[in-house]
């Protein structure tokens, strides 16, 4: 046993202990930084006595609501906005809205239905996104040679939906198109990939524009008109085979698996532009954002269910900082210059606002068409679940 200690040794031990303490603190801080965010979650910046405001939103707006700057702006008003994602169809039909302050579906028809049912006095449409087609250079060139796509003077690509529908109806394969042997020798049918029409809003937007064109450039509004176009519409979805339920999935396949897997994907313009602005290198030089002619706007619409929900809606519609942040995620706020500035500051060419835009059918007609197409799948549509990204 050591009963007494040399002072030099004592000092040395003291220094070592002090050093260990410092290392310990540094490690703890480092550890916290490294893993705190991943495993802790739910840390709210700013005042801790925030009022929780509950929103049910379309999944494509989740990254926006999770942005720390967005959270900070809501926190100024004393709000902690907590979100659950759900498909717009689900929000309109099956999600339990008890205790929910606002819903934020990505389509006007769904918002209209909720407004009617909840007797909400007002709605806010703070931003929108045109439907677009994520595709590739060799594909647009093939489509151009076949008279299905055109490039305007400004360099923007457009898909002629009428010519496209005719090509699909004729069972056209990629390999049938002039120049395909070199560019894209695939025996697959010329067909846009979309999400599952039974579950996802972006597919419903695709159905909206296609049914308009198939119905002689008129919005489908009667059972007769629906009956006349439904076979052609059903083929657009059934012939794709398996399609995912969330709008992220086909776009991620487009990005990671490329042209062989997804030559054309129906997306929200915001998905493509937001990804481009994120600067992660996923959007490469041979990728092209093409606009369907006509297109449909996905109007992200807030339906407030409580006073706090109303305040959130107002903030989204009026706070210029939130508009700027929405533009960062590729959405188009009411003020077009905010969108243009955001793209320009990221060195991305500003796509012109589409001019040939049609309105989706009424909620009831759209639902009726979707139900008729759904019936042609043999698997019953999955039960709604509010926590699945649709």
């Amino acid at each position: 046993m050591v009963t007494s200690m040399n002072p030099a040794v004592k000092r040395a031990i003291g220094v070592i202990l002090a050093l260990l303490l410092i290392v310990g603190i540094v490690l703890a801080v480092f550890w916290g930084r490294l893993f705190g965010g991943a495993t802790g979650g739910g840390i709210i910046p700013g005042p801790t006595n925030l009022t929780v405001v509950q929103g049910v939103i379309g999944s494509e707006k989740k990254p926006f609501f999770e942005d720390p700057e967005v959270k900070a702006i809501f926190a100024e008003k004393g709000f902690d906005v907590q979100i659950v994602t759900a498909g717009s169809r689900q929000i309109a039909t099956s999600v339990d809205l008890t205790g929910v302050d606002f819903v934020f579906p990505s389509s006007a028809p769904a918002a209209e239905k909720i407004k009617r049912e909840t007797k909400a006095s007002t709605v806010y449409a703070p931003f929108y996104s045109p439907m677009a087609i994520a595709t590739f250079k060799p594909i647009v060139q093939l489509l151009q040679a076949a008279g299905i796509a055109t490039q305007d003077a400004a360099g923007t690509w457009h898909l002629d939906i009428k010519a496209y529908l005719a090509a699909v109806a004729a069972g056209t394969r990629w390999s049938d198109l002039p120049g395909a042997a070199e560019a894209y020798p695939s025996s697959r049918s010329v067909l846009i990939s979309s999400t599952d029409i039974r579950q996802s809003n972006s597919a419903a937007m695709y159905l909206s524009m296609a049914s308009y064109v198939a119905n002689g450039d008129t919005i489908v509004s009667s059972p007769e008109a629906q009956a006349a176009v439904i076979d052609q519409m059903a083929a657009l979805f059934l012939e794709q085979g398996f399609s995912a339920s969330s709008s992220d999935a086909p776009f991620e396949d487009y990005l990671s698996q490329g042209i062989g897997s997804k030559p054309m994907v129906m997306v929200y313009e915001a998905q493509f532009l937001g990804r481009e602005m994120s600067g992660d290198g996923a959007i490469t030089d041979d990728m092209v954002l093409m606009y369907p002619d006509p297109t449909v706007f996905s109007k992200h619409t807030v339906v407030p269910l409580t006073d706090n929900g109303d305040t959130v809606g107002q903030m989204l519609a009026t706070d210029p900082r939130l508009a700027k942040l929405a533009a960062l995620y590729g959405f188009r706020p009411a003020d077009a210059s905010v969108f243009a500035d955001q793209l320009t500051s990221h060195g991305i060419a500003v796509p012109p606002t589409p001019v040939n835009v049609v309105e989706p059918p009424s909620y009831e007609t759209l639902e009726s068409m979707i139900n008729e197409i759904s019936a042609r799948y043999d698997t019953p549509a999955p039960p709604a679940s509010s926590n699945i990204d649709q």
């Binding site: 069972g171 697959r188 049918s189 059934l238 085979g241 398996f242 990671s256 698997t379 679940s385 926590n387």
Partner: protein
């Protein structure tokens, strides 16, 4: 799903005993459930992801998230998830894809989030010389060209059973869709129309297996049996065959697996952060590059530079069926009318020790294969049209074989006869394992000679030590003395009751078979799994 006895399981179990805590990566549970704590994600996985273990060990040391795996066939595991059987036992799944899952009613509410980690297409790996001869080294063929060449006997191949394994199912979808020539997703009508062409293509299939890994091992061990195998590109690139393989990617489309790591809705809320941490880590560019390098899979996220690891050119993706009916019709058409028939010999221990529950268990297991199990998976495991089923019960020696022919068409009569035969089994006498197995081999060789274009295999089920007649070494000598064809007749051993694990594992290995564990009493499960290999 049963644990398979493997080195990894032994190592994992040893590690548990030695340290008293859960190791960073556990492969296979011990039948009573996977270890579970606040840092462990319990994953029901396809055996395909076994090669991810080293990367997951790294994940555990870098992120603190540990993983415990239980392996199961994609279709079987998928049904378990969709029908609620995975809830509480597992937190997540990791199958080659979730497409079949999404076709099952109830599946989408069973899962809550999924992240695609990596991808690999299912393609054909063919001996270089054969590929050259057919000109496929220079110009990749279509599936129709493959079908023509196969029917002309120009090449043979192995493929897994599509009812048991995802790679076989993926290939089946690709070939049927391509042969249908519609350019769109397959329909029921297409399947009927392309059945003759599919039969041409599958006339070249001379090797079957219940898992992609077993198929690859079998091909490496017996490269002369077939000219190539259909498997994941990643597996084929990693194979060590005497002759290099040429990877053939049919130009009219392949089905790619995208390995989504998927969180179950039933998982405890505390598992979500683990899931997020692990999937974030796995999708970083650094880890993605390691996955490419170590497993030969393509990246699951964009922007990862893979250099010249993969052949250039566009990988055309085949549309996947979007209805359960089409998927199931495709599988049953393959099993019942397209593929070569099976000849299956069951060597069944009916010694005195089998009396009581054990013999009842055996009777039920046989009856399940003869139509008593009405589930989808049970249906796919049932005896098939054109199959010759031979039952050889034994005690002091083999009894007279009972041979039942399942006709092409209505199977009712034959299946009912098999059920009656199962009911008439009774337990008495000794355990002459090797005399009986030798008798089975003699009969199997005769049957093979009678019908050369069939898959012949033997199932040996015993619950105890060999007590009568030939010994293990006698059998080994007998087996070595057999002539040509011996490498094609495997013995799949079912361990039951007090069976001698080591000795029977040697028998399975000697014959190119595999051991299936029913020591926990689940004989029906083991029999069903073996059907994937027949």
């Amino acid at each position: 799903m049963r644990r398979r006895l493997g080195l990894s399981a032994v190592i994992a179990a040893t590690a548990l005993l030695l340290t008293g805590c859960i190791p960073s990566v556990v492969t296979e549970g011990d039948g009573t459930g996977l270890p579970n704590d606040g840092q462990t994600l319990r994953i029901l996985a396809g055996s395909e992801v076994k090669d991810m273990v080293p990367i997951l060990e790294q994940a555990a040391s870098e992120t603190g998230v540990k993983v415990a795996f239980e392996y199961v066939g994609t279709l079987e595991g998928t049904e378990l998830v969709a029908f609620g059987g995975a809830a509480g036992k597992y937190d997540a799944t990791w199958f080659p894809n979730n497409r079949y899952l999404s076709l099952l009613p109830g599946a989408s509410s069973a899962i809550t989030a999924s992240v695609k980690i990596m991808s690999s297409p299912v393609v054909l790996g063919l001996s270089q010389s054969v590929a050259r001869e057919l000109g496929w080294d220079a110009t990749a063929p279509t599936w129709a060209e493959l079908a023509t060449a196969a029917s002309e006997g120009k090449f043979t191949y192995g493929m897994t059973n599509p009812a048991a394994s995802n790679s076989g199912f993926s290939a089946l979808v690709a070939v049927a869709t391509a042969l249908s020539g519609t350019g769109s997703a397959l329909t029921d009508a297409d399947i009927t129309a392309v059945t003759p062409q599919m039969t041409s293509f599958f006339s070249g299939q001379k090797l079957t297996a219940g898992s992609s890994g077993f198929l690859a091992d079998k091909f490496v061990a017996n490269p002369d049996v077939v000219d190539g195998i259909i498997n994941y590109e990643s597996v084929l690139m990693g194979l060590d065959t005497p002759e290099p393989l040429t990877i053939i990617t049919p130009t009219d489309g392949v089905v790619t697996s995208d390995y989504p790591l998927t969180l179950l809705s039933s998982a405890d809320a505390s598992k979500k952060p683990l899931f997020d941490t692990l999937t974030d880590w796995l999708t970083t560019k650094k880890v993605q590059s390691e996955i490419v390098e170590q497993t030969n899979r393509r990246p699951g996220v964009p922007g990862v530079d893979t250099g010249s690891t993969f052949p250039p050119g566009i990988l055309f993706e085949t549309p996947f069926p979007n209805t359960l009916d089409v998927a199931n019709t495709l599988i049953s058409t393959y099993l019942e009318s397209v593929r070569s028939p099976a000849q299956t010999l069951f060597v069944l221990d009916t010694s005195g020790s089998m009396e009581g529950d054990r013999i009842a268990n055996l009777q039920q297991a046989l009856k399940n294969l003869a139509g008593a199990d009405e589930s989808t998976a049970g249906g796919f495991a049932a005896f098939r049209s054109r199959e010759r089923v031979t039952l050889i019960p034994f005690n002091y020696g083999p009894e007279t074989p009972i041979v039942i022919e399942v006709p092409d068409g209505d199977k009712t009569q034959a299946l009912s006869e098999i059920r009656d035969q199962a009911d008439s089994l009774f337990a008495d006498g000794g355990t002459a394992i090797y005399d009986s197995l030798e008798a089975a081999y003699r009969l199997a060789l005769t049957q093979q000679k009678e019908r050369p274009d069939t898959f012949v295999s033997i199932v040996l089920m015993t619950d105890g030590e060999n007590t009568d007649g030939a010994t293990e070494s006698d059998f080994e000598q007998f087996y070595q003395s057999l002539g040509a064809g011996k490498t094609k007749i495997a013995t799949y051993v079912v361990l039951f009751g007090d069976a001698n694990v080591e000795e029977l594992t040697r028998v399975a290995t000697l014959t190119g078979g595999k051991v299936f564990d029913a020591l926990n009493g689940d004989l029906a499960g083991a029999f069903q799994e073996i059907r994937g290999y027949q």
